[in-house]
C-alpha cells in the first residue's frame, strides 16, 4: 500500500545482482562454444547412414529400397539405385545407393525415415552444429558425409544401438542357420534327386511341367469411379 512491495522487489533484485557475483550456481547460462550441455540420449537432429566394418562403401547397410525417400514428408531424400549389387551383412546380394543425398535445410527431423527403414540403415544423429557458409552445396549432404560407422551410433545412442545390434546379430545367426539348413536341404535334395532318376526313369514324362499359376482376379476387377 505504501510501496513496501516495491522495496521488497528492489531487495530481491539486489540480492540477485550481488548473489550472481558471489555464487556461481546462480548463473544458469551455459557459455556455449566453450561449455556444452550433456545431450540427452534421445536427442535427434538429422539422419545419417550406418555402415559396418571399416569401409563406408562396402559396409553401407542401405540397400536403396527407397522406402525412406517415399515416406519422407518434406521429400528431402534423394536416392539413385546402383546398377550392380553387393553382398549385405548376411551375404545376400543387394543393390546399394549410387547417390544418397539429404537436404539438411529441408529435413524437419521427424525421424520417419528411421522408423520405416527395414534394414536399420538410417538413424538419427545428434550433431547440431550444421551451419555452413555455402547455403546451397553446403546444406546438401551426400552419401560420403552421411555415412558413419556403427561405433559412432553406439556412442551417441547406446541403448538403441544395443537393441539394433542384438536384433541384427540374431538375424545374421538365423540367416546363417537358414543358409546352413538350406544347404543341408539342398544337399539332401541333391542326394534325393540323384536317387530319383533311378526310380522314375521309366515313368511318364508328360506330367513333368508345373501347372501355370492362376490369373490374379484382382487385376481383372473393373475400376470403380
Amino acid at each position: 500500500m505504501f510501496g513496501e512491495g516495491i522495496l521488497q522487489g528492489l531487495y530481491e533484485t539486489a540480492r540477485n545482482f550481488f548473489g550472481s557475483y558471489v555464487d556461481k550456481d546462480r548463473l544458469v547460462t551455459v557459455q556455449y562454444p566453450e561449455e556444452r550441455h550433456q545431450l540427452p540420449e534421445a536427442t535427434r537432429e538429422f539422419p545419417f547412414l550406418l555402415y559396418d566394418g571399416p569401409d563406408p562403401e562396402a559396409g553401407l547397410r542401405c540397400v536403396a529400397c527407397q522406402i525412406c525417400e517415399k515416406e519422407c514428408p518434406p521429400r528431402c531424400i534423394h536416392i539413385e539405385k546402383s546398377k550392380d549389387k553387393k553382398p549385405d551383412f548376411v551375404g545376400k546380394q543387394q543393390f546399394y545407393p549410387a547417390v544418397f543425398d539429404i537436404d539438411v535445410s529441408v529435413c524437419m527431423s521427424c525421424q520417419i525415415c528411421v522408423e520405416v527403414c527395414p534394414f536399420d540403415a538410417i538413424r538419427m544423429d545428434n550433431e547440431y552444429e550444421l551451419s555452413t557458409s555455402n547455403r546451397f552445396g553446403g546444406l546438401l549432404y551426400t552419401k560420403r558425409e552421411l555415412a558413419k560407422p556403427n561405433e559412432y551410433y553406439r556412442k551417441i545412442h547406446p541403448t538403441e544401438a544395443a537393441e539394433t545390434d542384438d536384433r541384427r546379430a540374431k538375424e545374421a545367426e538365423e540367416a546363417k542357420a537358414k543358409a546352413a539348413a538350406a544347404a543341408a536341404a539342398a544337399a539332401a535334395k541333391a542326394a534325393q534327386v540323384a536317387a530319383i532318376p533311378a526310380v522314375a526313369a521309366n515313368g511318364a514324362t508328360g506330367n513333368g511341367a508345373a501347372p501355370k499359376p492362376a490369373e490374379q482376379p484382382a487385376d481383372k476387377k473393373p475400376v470403380n469411379q
Binding site: M1, F2, G3, I6, G9, F17, S20, L27, V28, T29
Partner: protein, 404 residues
Amino acid sequence: MTALPPPTADQIWVWMKAWLVLHTPAPFQALVSIVCMVAAIIVVFASLFALTVLLERKGLGRIQNRYGPNRVGPFGILQPIADAVKSLTKEDIVPRSADHVVHYLAPLVLVGASFLAYAVLPIGRNMTAVNLDAGVLFFFAIGSATELAVFMAGWSSRNKYSLLGAMRAIAQMVSYEIPLILSSIAVVMIAGTLSTSAIVDEQAQYSHGIAHWYVFTPWGLAGFILFMIAATAETNRSPFDLPEGESEIIAGYFIEYSGFKFALFFLAEYIEMFAVSGLGITLFLGGWSSPVSFLAWIPSWIWFFGKLLAFIGCFIWVRGTLPRLRMDQLMNFAWKFMLPMTLFVILSAGVWRFLPSAVAGSTGLGAVVRWLVCALVVLLPYITLARTLESGRKIEKREYRFAD
C-alpha cells in the same frame, strides 16, 4: 576573458578552455568558447551513453542471474563499439508512404532538443555552459520540445503502432511533466532563483560540516522522490515505458526507424535520462557539491558525475525490478497520487520557509520541531492518499475462462 583561473584539479577543464580561448585571435574567441563547450558536452555525454548501455546490459543480466554481454573484448567492454558499428552499417529503411521530411527530421530534433537541455546544467564549479537566469525554466521548455519530436516520429511513420505509441508517449509526458515541474517549484521557492548555478551555490554551504542539500529536508526528500518518479516517466524508462511496450505496440513511435536513426532515438532517450537526472542532482542533491565539508577537496565535476552514475545505477536497478504499468494505472498514478503529493510538497516547503524564525533556528529544538512539522505535512497526505486509493480495490486471483 583575460585572466586565467588557477589550474587546480577542480578547475582544470575551465582552465583549459580559458587557455585555449586566450590563444585564439580575438574575432574567433567567442566561437571557440562555444565550440569547446558544445563539443565537450556532446563527447562526454555520448560516451556516457555508451558506458550506460553496457552497464545496463551487464546489470540487468546480473539481476536476472545471467552474465550479460561478455564476448566483445575482455568482459565484453567493447560491446558498445560493436553495437555502434552494427547500427551504422544497417540499412536505413523509410516506409514508402511515410512523410519523408518529417520522418527524417524527427530523430534529429529529438537528439538536438535532448542535448540542448545540458546548456543550463552545472556539471562542476564554474562549469555551466550558459548561466541563464531562468535556467530551470529553459530546461523544462526544451524538455517539452522532445514531445514534439516524438509525435513527429509517430505521425510521419504512417503506422498505427507508431501513432499509438506516440499518443501514449504524449499523454504520459504531459501528465508527468506537471508533477515534475511542481516538485521543482518547491526548490525554486526556497532558493528564490530559477538559475541552476545559483541553486547549487545555495546548497553548497555547510553547517556542522554537512551541506545544505535540499534532499536533507523533509519536503526536499519527498520532492526528490516524486521528481525522480516523474523523471522516470518523462524519459520513458521502465516501469513507465509504455510508449514502446514490445508486447502491445512492438516498439511504439520508433517502430519504422532502423539503422542509425533508431540508434539516434536510443541515444536521445538516454541523453534525456542523464539530463533529467542531472537536473535532479542540481535541484536536490547539491549539484557538484560534496555532502560533507571534509570531502570538498574532491573536484566538483567528479562529484557530479559520481552522483550521475549512482542515478544511472538506480535507474537500471528499478528497470530490472518493476514490470511495466498499464495505461490506466499510469494515468491514475499521475493524477491521483503524484499531483496531490507534489502540491503538498510545495505546502511543506512553504511551511519550512515561513515558520516563525523563533522556532526555525538552524540548531537545537527549533530545527527538530520544524523538521517534524514539515515531515508531517508530507507524510499525513501520503498515508491518507495511499489508503484511499487502495480502498475499494481488491487484489485477487483472476479466473481465466479459456486460458486454463
